[in-house]
Amino acid sequence: MAAKRTANRFIIYSIFLIQAFVVFFPIYSMVTSSLKRNIDIFQKPMTFPHELFLGGYEKALIRGDFGIFFTNSLLVTLITVTSVIVISSLAAFALGIYEFRFRKQLYFFFLAGVVIPIRLGVLNLFETIRFFGLIDNLFALIFIYSAMSIPMAMFILTPLVKRVPQDLIDAARIDGSSSRAIYRHIVFPIIRPSLATVAILTFLPVWNDFFFPLIFIRSKEKMTIPLGVATLFGQFSQDLNTAFAMLSIASIPAILFYLLAARHFIRGVTAGAIKG
């Protein structure tokens, strides 16, 4: 029995290690290539650099202001995620608990947004952003990203709110609770674990987007990471070493930042769910 258990463990850990290797190999190859001269990248792509060559980093750092790219990306993403969670959970609450005129129409109106690429509306969107005077302003991105994330959030949250046990709500209503109290004390605690899912699904496209910054952001001080990287990659595509250095600079801090916060982050997703 014990032997079998050890064997099982061995298999499980092997699978974990293989997957960890799969995760790290591209990252390893990116980082080591960023430290090699171009000719070594061609001839010995796999090996560890025999001398640390920092020329690529020098070039990449002179051209790109990565600190600013990071701050901007982080600000835009954080504000968008927070506001989407607050705004959509409120709306999902109203749509999922109460019956009112236009409820179904309203729900499908929101749902339509899940599936249409917002890019198509870019010309009209440009008019809107200009109308609000938000050209070259990070708030343009925050509003657009919030708008494009709300449908997905509603799509996930509304059915969950609808599944809140009716007896609970009835009981609260008999006690004379207001809709605000029902939201805060009954509905919110139940949907809270799923808010983490909403947060991740909001975070991803926002963190990745380079189309809207490309159109709405003009000054270097307001560029986000994907736009900064896409702009620089065009300049360095023939210079492998610098290209890899730039990709490393742009991705490693985010990875480290995530690893530091991973405990809180993933606990938010999984542990929260247990209470639900």
Partner: protein
């Protein structure tokens, strides 16, 4: 719980900071109250991100003139340039000076009224430009909507060290080309750095480059436009067969996975002997490997004695945004006039090596390879021929660009035959291009 409150507090303070930053920003200065000595800033937008550093050096020269005009170089990711520019033009937020693509793509901007026609009053030497240079930014009734900036040409770049070591000379004819390829191959060198992953390189650097030697350059090009010569004719199919032979005998293994920058790296690192190059490549290659000894050789011809055509395209022109305040318009014209002057042209030609300035009376660039390449155009540009895929045949979809991109890649990867490619290109264009019907 405490942690959550803390996290919320952090987020909200960030929001506050950002809002505060936003509101502290001073409103943009009203252009009308600008004092005389305060510089007027204008922006020049292009798709040439690669040239950021070079334009920095050109603009330093412009600043020395002390014109009261400050220019900012504003490149956009090249693949996104057209959509970003269109969006900005329509909402009135486009930059003052606009790099305009040649032929059909640029014409659409002018037809929609977003570019101001350039007259002699605005740019006094506009009519001194060679007509071949002006043609791609000129309407049928003679209106000009861009000051020609530069043009690029095709030819062969070879690695001098390798050729000297093996005692071979650059190929003069296509037969020579294949002989050279086999010598290089025997010596373990990739003959031509080529690949088919980026189809636009097949369109421009192979088809646009080599079709002229088959259909007698500009003579054939004009026949193609008028419908006297069609892609289904034997010369066109011969040129496709030739490209296939180049692929078979001169390209490296795994060419299907090699994109443009991959092939550039192959050549620059000395692993390949030749590169079917655009002239702008001189600057790129020298920047990547200053120790590389390159030689230029004109496009090989079919047989000794054939006319040596130089396949070119005008690349971009300086256009003037039609919706500017008088101050900005004046400032933009100051800049455009400098760009159009012989001095401005000279600096552009020297800094942007291989992007040949279109300005009249410009002395040749201080670069032996570039000078050799430009000289190939002959007296009064008699050897010049324009890329077949760029002019007129690309005005609608499916156009020569889309059709040749997709079918040439299929040809190289063995999914289509030469005859099928020719038919595919003809079928696509004949649907909307009347002279071919």
């Amino acid at each position: 719980m405490k942690q959550k409150i803390l996290a919320l507090a952090v987020v909200f303070s960030l929001v506050l900071i950002l809002t505060a930053c936003g509101s502290q920003e001073t409103p943009p200065p009203n252009e009308n109250v600008t004092a005389d000595n305060e510089p007027i800033t204008i922006r020049f937008t292009t798709w040439r991100q690669e040239d950021v550093e070079m334009w920095g050096r050109i603009l330093v020269e412009f600043d020395k003139l002390d014109t009261n005009v400050m220019v900012e170089y504003a490149p956009v990711v090249d693949t996104e340039y057209d959509s970003v520019l269109k969006t900005n033009l329509q909402s009135g937020t486009a930059d003052e000076v606009i790099f305009v693509r040649s032929w059909d793509a640029g014409r659409a901007l002018f037809d929609a009224g977003y570019l101001e026609p350039i007259t002699e009053e605005m740019v006094p030497n506009i009519n001194d430009f060679a007509s071949a240079q002006l043609a791609s930014w000129q309407t049928e009734d003679g209106k000009i909507y861009g000051v020609p900036g530069n043009w690029v040409a095709y030819g062969v770049l070879y690695n001098k060290d390798i050729f000297d070591d093996l005692g071979i000379t650059p190929p003069a004819t296509t037969d020579d080309l294949f002989a050279v390829c086999s010598t290089l191959k025997e010596n373990g060198i990739i003959p031509i750095a080529g690949g088919s992953k980026d189809p636009w390189t097949l369109e421009h650097m192979l088809s646009d480059h080599f079709l002229p030697i088959f259909y007698d350059g500009e003579v054939g090009h004009q026949k193609l436009l008028s419908g006297e010569f069609l892609p289904t004719d034997s010369e066109f199919i011969d040129h496709l067969d030739f490209l296939l032979k180049v692929r078979n005998e001169c390209w490296p293994d795994g060419f299907e996975g090699m994109g443009y920058s991959d092939t550039q790296q192959l050549f620059v690192s000395g692993l390949a002997g030749m590169f079917m190059a655009g002239s702008w490549e001189i600057g790129v290659f020298e920047g990547l490997n200053p120790e590389l000894h390159m030689g230029y050789s004109p496009t090989p011809v079919l047989k000794e004695g054939d006319k040596r055509w130089l396949s070119i395209t005008p690349a971009g022109a300086f256009g003037l945004n039609a919706n500017l305040t008088p101050e900005k318009r004046e400032a933009a014209l100051v800049f455009i006039n400098w760009l159009a002057s012989p001095e401005g042209g000279k600096i552009q030609g020297d800094v942007l090596v291989g992007q040949f300035p279109s300005m009249p009376n410009t002395t040749p660039p201080d670069h032996p390879l570039a000078t050799e390449w430009v000289a190939q155009q002959g007296d009064d540009g008699e050897n010049l021929t324009i890329w077949w895929t760029f002019q007129t045949l690309n005005a609608q979809e499916p156009g020569a660009g889309t059709l040749s991109n997709e079918s040439l890649q299929a040809l190289m990867n063995g999914d289509m035959t030469s005859e099928e490619v020719a038919q595919h290109i003809f079928d696509g264009i004949v649907g909307w291009y009347d002279p071919w019907k």
